[in-house]
């Protein structure tokens, strides 16, 4: 049934166009450091939005996200590094892998698929668990991934890490994928599947009584989340140009969970808001940590300031707004109705 595109669709397209224009201007004018931060915001949006699908919408409290990132990052690294470079750095690779060099988009898809596959393997036994049992089990997955990465030296160079990943990641890739991620996840959570996932979160027994296949829905959410985590991990690897098992540690997982909690774990908009705050704030605070002068006043070095402020922020938010900044609300154009009018006037 063909029909005219709705106002929301048009606005969405307009928003993407504005974002693209902003990225274009930033790429022309900003020094690399700021572009790097902008890219990290985008990567965090991808990672946290996908974490919110499992942790927020479906109520599977997973601490394994960094593990999926690792799977994605290593997959993409092994698929994109030029054969000549592999011969030097990874001489023990099996032949079929040593000779391969895929274009970036193909490597990203492979990264996501392999992360998804890992989620499928771990999901079958683990998703029967609930609450903190599930959280601990997914953390176990993270431990396994790190041990494998550290020990599978012929594939990963172990703890030394792989360096010289081609620096493919730029703001176009990052925000292209971020917008796509948000769009697809939004479609998913507003679909019948998504409603089912939310029903499972709210009341598993009632959802089961309504005929929702709990295990299958949870597995779908888990694997979808892992897919985007894998893609996000690959993007991060190709931004850093170096990856090692230490990159994908508990602190990485907890950073994502923190962003998710601050932004609001039951909302995709929350992922965006949280990523903006939690990526920008430490970088802004960095300017004050080293001491120096601010408006003519000499400041002593205050290293650790940003960690303390971020941790305090987390505590304050948990006390006063335990559902996070966005709660379960999503962005809608009506939220900005007044502001838009002001701009026009």
């Amino acid at each position: 049934m063909p029909r005219k595109p709705s106002a929301t669709t048009l606005r969405g397209i307009g928003g993407v166009a504005v974002l693209a224009a902003a990225l274009f201007v930033m790429n022309l004018t900003l020094p690399d450091y700021y572009l790097r931060i902008v890219n990290l915001i985008g990567i965090n949006i991808i990672l946290v939005a996908s974490l919110n699908l499992t942790n927020g919408f479906t109520g599977i409290f997973s601490l394994g996200h960094a593990g999926f990132m690792a799977v994605g990052a290593y997959t993409s690294a092994l698929l994109t590094i030029a054969p000549a470079q592999k011969a030097l750095a990874l001489p023990q690779l099996p032949l079929w892998l040593a000779g391969i060099s895929l274009p970036f988009p193909a490597a990203l898809v492979a990264a996501g698929l392999l992360a998804s596959f890992a989620a499928l393997l771990i999901g079958f036994p683990v998703l029967r668990l609930r609450g903190h049992y599930l959280a601990v089990a997914t953390m176990g997955f993270l431990v396994i991934i790190r041990v494998v990465l550290t020990n599978a030296e012929s594939f990963t160079r172990g703890a030394r890490g792989i360096s010289g990943l081609p620096v493919f990641t730029n703001s176009w890739w990052v925000f292209g994928i971020a917008v796509l991620t948000l769009y697809l996840l939004r479609k998913l959570v507003t679909s019948a599947y998504g409603r089912g996932m939310i029903a499972i979160r709210e009341n598993t027994v009632a959802a089961e009584a309504l005929g929702i296949p709990i295990a299958r829905y949870r597995l779908i959410a888990f694997c979808t989340g892992a897919f985007f985590a894998g893609v996000g991990g690959a993007l991060l690897g190709h931004l850093m140009s170096v990856i090692s098992p230490n990159f994908f540690s508990y602190s990485q997982t907890f950073l994502l969970v923190e962003i998710s909690i601050i932004g609001g774990c039951g909302s995709l908009t929350g992922a965006v808001v949280g990523s903006l705050i939690m990526t920008l704030l430490p970088e802004i605070l960095r300017n004050f940590e080293g001491g120096g002068e601010l408006f003519g006043i000499a400041l002593p070095p205050m290293y650790g300031l940003s960690q303390i402020i971020l941790a305090s922020l987390l505590i304050v938010i948990i006390i006063f707004r335990p559902q996070g900044i966005m709660g379960t609300k999503e962005f809608s154009w009506s939220m900005f109705g007044k502001k838009r009018e002001l701009k026009k006037g």
Partner: protein
Amino acid sequence: MKAKVVMLGVLALAATLAVTGCAKKNNVIKIGALFNQTGDQSSLDVPGLNGFKLAADEINKAGGLLGKKLEIVAIDGKTDQTQCTNAASKMIDVDKVVAIGGLSDSNYALAAGAIAQAKGVPFVTSGATLPTLPDQVGDAFFLEPFGDNIQAYAGAEFAAKDLKAKTAYILTDKAMDYTITLSKYFKERFTKINGDKSVLLEDTYQTDDVDFSAQIGRLKNLKVQPDVLYVASDPSKCGVIVKQLRALKVKQPVIGGDGYDTPLLVSLGGDAANTGVYFSTHASLTNPADKVQNFVKAYNAAYKTAPENAFAALGYDTMYLIANAIKAGNSDKSADIKAALAKTDGLEGVTGKVSYKNGSRVPTKSVTILTVKDGKFDFVKEVLPE
């Protein structure tokens, strides 16, 4: 749909840029100091930065370089790879540093070094000792300290010759390049001296482990007990492991690398640290040489405390190494500093002489063996491994 929110963020970012944008000054030479001031690495990196700054102050008091003053841009790496790369990127793109010094662990130096390499800015690591690092990162990456192979050789030779050990046990932190490399080279040299079967058991743990009773149990189950224990650990674990070994009545001498050169060895190890613990490191601060004692005095005057460990001296030497290259190349351009660094030959420092020979960017330096006596580090001997 969320684009609007993203846009708002972009605006916020643009606003911060406007506020934090830096004014460029022409009469200074900016040098980046990238040290982990917080987190696990801070017990090495805080003294490192202190030493680095002290050297810059001395150079400025003596009139600066090329008629300009040095300005240190110090950013906290937070013991996190992403943060280290952000910091390196900020120093280069925003603060416009011409060279960077710092970091005491190869994991972080690898990540930050890649950023500097891509921009052609020389990076001198003050404490990371992985010998393959400069080759892995590129031609702008230099080591101020000796490589891990050298200090592990020194540890093995000290064990075999001075402690008369015929057999050894090796415990390695499996999650770190640093510790894996140490154990590998210790074994290589020790078995070369004492024969293939002289290493009785090799065991591993992960950095996050806190209980080592399983490893110690396996050690005690050996029918023949080893003469020495080589425990390759990072700064946060050496004290803990030594304490647990002694608590379970394992009495053999413990040998480690420069990760032990931290106040944590004594504060976490307690009395156990006094019972035959030896480690290889970069310098002894009790060394009576003028160069060393002047440094100790200056450090005391500046920070009201004695240098905490050799990393303070390494930070100090790193700044002088960069300064020497600026002077020798008579330029404060990154490319010239890089070229001049590569030609460094026989530069005397607190931690020994630095020369980069045959295109190598890892210096050959002597290794100092220290032990702990009454809770203080004590000089044992200096070893120049074969």
